[in-house]
């Protein structure tokens, strides 16, 4: 029996994105430090610039429907982040928007379905598989865990907590891998021993969902 008690509306998504924005701001230096090890030292500032723009855009927007809101987020990320993260996070939200459509607030399953669509968009845009040492290594296990818990009847908060744990585990696993995608791939074997910055920011995204959506997204759980 899946969780149908929770509805995720525009307000809940805004809370999620605000939470993610805060976490990105707090961890901007950390993300950049990770990117300094095996990249070009800009993942923190890229994401920070993008999420500041997202927060400003959604605060200025009065819409309450998840679909248009997620589309605004995706477009804003595409237009402000640049680098690899811009098209990837942008595609994540644009695909979520497409999955959400204009059917009004999402239930837990609908949210999970949208996230799955987003993940597939990222993998397609990045031509990435799990194990390539990218953000997909955190996102894919998180979506798997979310679906599995919801399918086995867990409420959204429990399922999201499991997703966040899976994301963090996937993120930590990246340290042991050789990068095959992203700039870190240029380092070959030298990329081993360093965590992938995109998997760290993707984990923040899932953790923000726990904080924002986990306890009854519409504030009335």
């Amino acid at each position: 029996m899946t969780d149908t008690s929770t509805t995720i509306d525009g307000r809940a998504l805004r809370t999620w994105l605000h939470e993610f924005g805060l976490r990105v701001a707090e961890n901007s230096d950390h993300l950049t430090a990770l990117d300094s090890e095996i990249g070009d030292a800009d993942h923190g500032s890229n994401m920070h610039r993008g999420m500041a723009a997202v927060v400003a855009a959604i605060d200025a927007d009065a819409g309450t429907e998840p679909g248009p809101l997620l589309k605004l987020v995706g477009r804003t990320l595409v237009s402000t982040v640049g680098g690899a993260a811009g098209p990837l996070y942008g595609t994540l939200f644009l695909r979520m928007a497409a999955a959400a459509g204009d059917a009004g607030p999402l239930d837990a399953a609908g949210f999970a379905k949208a996230l799955r669509a987003g993940l597939e968009g990222v993998a397609a845009r990045g031509r990435t598989e799990i194990g390539d040492k990218t953000m997909v290594d955190a996102l894919a296990p998180a979506v798997d865990a979310l679906e599995a818990r919801l399918a086995s009847g867990a409420p959204l908060d429990t399922a999201l907590a499991a997703a966040a744990a899976a994301a963090a585990a996937g993120r930590d696993d990246t340290a042991g891998r050789v990068a095959r995608k992203g700039r870190a791939s240029y380092l070959g074997e030298r990329s081993i021993g360093h965590q992938d910055p995109g998997s760290a920011s993707a984990t923040l995204l899932v953790e923000a969902a726990v904080a924002a959506l986990g306890t009854g997204a519409d504030g009335q759980a």
Binding site: D40, N46, G82, G86, P87, R125, K181, Y186
Partner: protein, 339 residues
């Protein structure tokens, strides 16, 4: 926000470094290029040129003069500069495409970096919706990176400059889009690069060097973002470094024996002209010893990483058409001859 105390750069607000620098570029070269601040792109002052194929490129800033310094007659019609070491966003690339489109189509010159490839891809999708004819050529000349299936492949390095010059010259001659793209692909096919870093560099927003080298060590196989290279080795003489660089490049390029080549030695930004020329002297000798003749040579800062110290060699096997396209007049901020 003032630069941090430890960062000694000509800079106002680090977050505005790219914009402020482009304002200066435009002020210094008013007859050559314009800075379209609304779209965040640099366009040729006299463009779009009626009937001409547009050639555009773009990429993370910090690699100047690439790409903005190559906008002008005989080279690029527009360039989309991203933030420092971050690809431009699709909006910029789309705006550059439209600015360069005179009805004969537009060539996108894209360095094979994940961010650049994806942003150009999204821009090309959007341009197609707008009805623009876009061809894309991805440059991937860096022999330091293994080119195996399932990986991101090789970076685009110095060959990008050569593609911009040679495809730009073909476009200036009034060639059609497929011909211009064909020139670009031939250059990608026949060019290889390898870089050496003697230091890292400090992106303005990060405020500290990307990495620090222990005394007496250097990085081999670097790209253009001040990031570590393929391996770290002890410092050695210019003679030994030249032999190593030339061998890396030629082994992969496998030029026709006796082939005429173009040799480009680009500094990484912080290496002075005297050192570059010293290294070029050794490179020139190694090339000749290996049986190829550098009939065209260019030594200076063309594709860089901020103030990084180091250099990268690009070798392009030439044919008569490429030689004539190379010699064709060009007038950009960073490359100028024949006019």
């Amino acid at each position: 926000m003032l630069p941090t105390a430890t960062m000694r750069k000509f800079l106002n607000d680090p977050g505005e470094a790219v914009r402020d620098s482009l304002v200066g570029l435009a002020a210094a070269h008013p007859g050559v290029l314009r800075y379209d601040t609304a779209n965040g792109i640099v366009v040729r002052a006299d463009g779009p040129v009626p009937g001409k194929v547009g050639v555009i490129s773009g990429g993370g800033s910090g690699c100047e003069p690439l790409h903005t310094g190559f906008v002008g007659h005989g080279m690029l019609d527009a360039a989309a500069p991203g933030q420092v070491f971050s690809s431009p966003v699709p909006d910029q690339i789309l705006a550059a495409t439209h600015a360069a489109d005179a009805g004969a189509g537009v060539l996108h010159v894209v360095k094979n970096f994940p961010g650049e490839v994806m942003n150009f891809e999204m821009a090309a999708e959007l341009a197609a919706i707008d009805g623009a004819a876009v061809e894309t050529v991805v440059v991937n000349d860096d022999v330091a990176v293994l080119d195996t299936p399932g990986t991101a492949g090789r970076r685009g390095l110095g060959a990008t400059v050569l593609v911009e010059k040679l495809a730009g010259a073909a476009a200036e001659r009034g060639q059609a889009l497929d011909v211009v793209a064909g020139v670009a692909r031939r250059v990608v096919h026949r060019a290889r690069s390898f870089g050496v870093g003697l230091s890292s560099c400090t992106p303005p927003v990060a405020g500290r060097p990307i990495f620090t080298l222990p005394d007496g060590e250097i990085e081999l196989g670097i790209g253009i973002s001040g990031e570590p290279g393929r391996r770290r080795v002890p410092m050695r003489s210019a003679r030994e470094l030249a032999a190593l660089i030339v061998s890396e490049v030629l082994t992969d390029l496998a030029p026709t024996p006796g082939a005429p080549v173009l040799a480009m030695l680009s500094g990484m930004g912080g290496t002075p002209s005297s050192e570059l020329h010293l290294l070029y002297g050794e490179v020139d000798r190694c090339l000749r010893d290996a049986g190829v003749e550098p009939v065209r040579r260019i030594v200076g800062n063309f594709i860089t990483s901020l103030e990084q110290s180091g250099a990268a060699l690009t070798v392009l096997e030439l044919d008569d058409e490429l030689i004539s396209l190379w010699d064709a007049p060009v007038h950009t901020a960073a490359l100028r001859w024949g006019m």
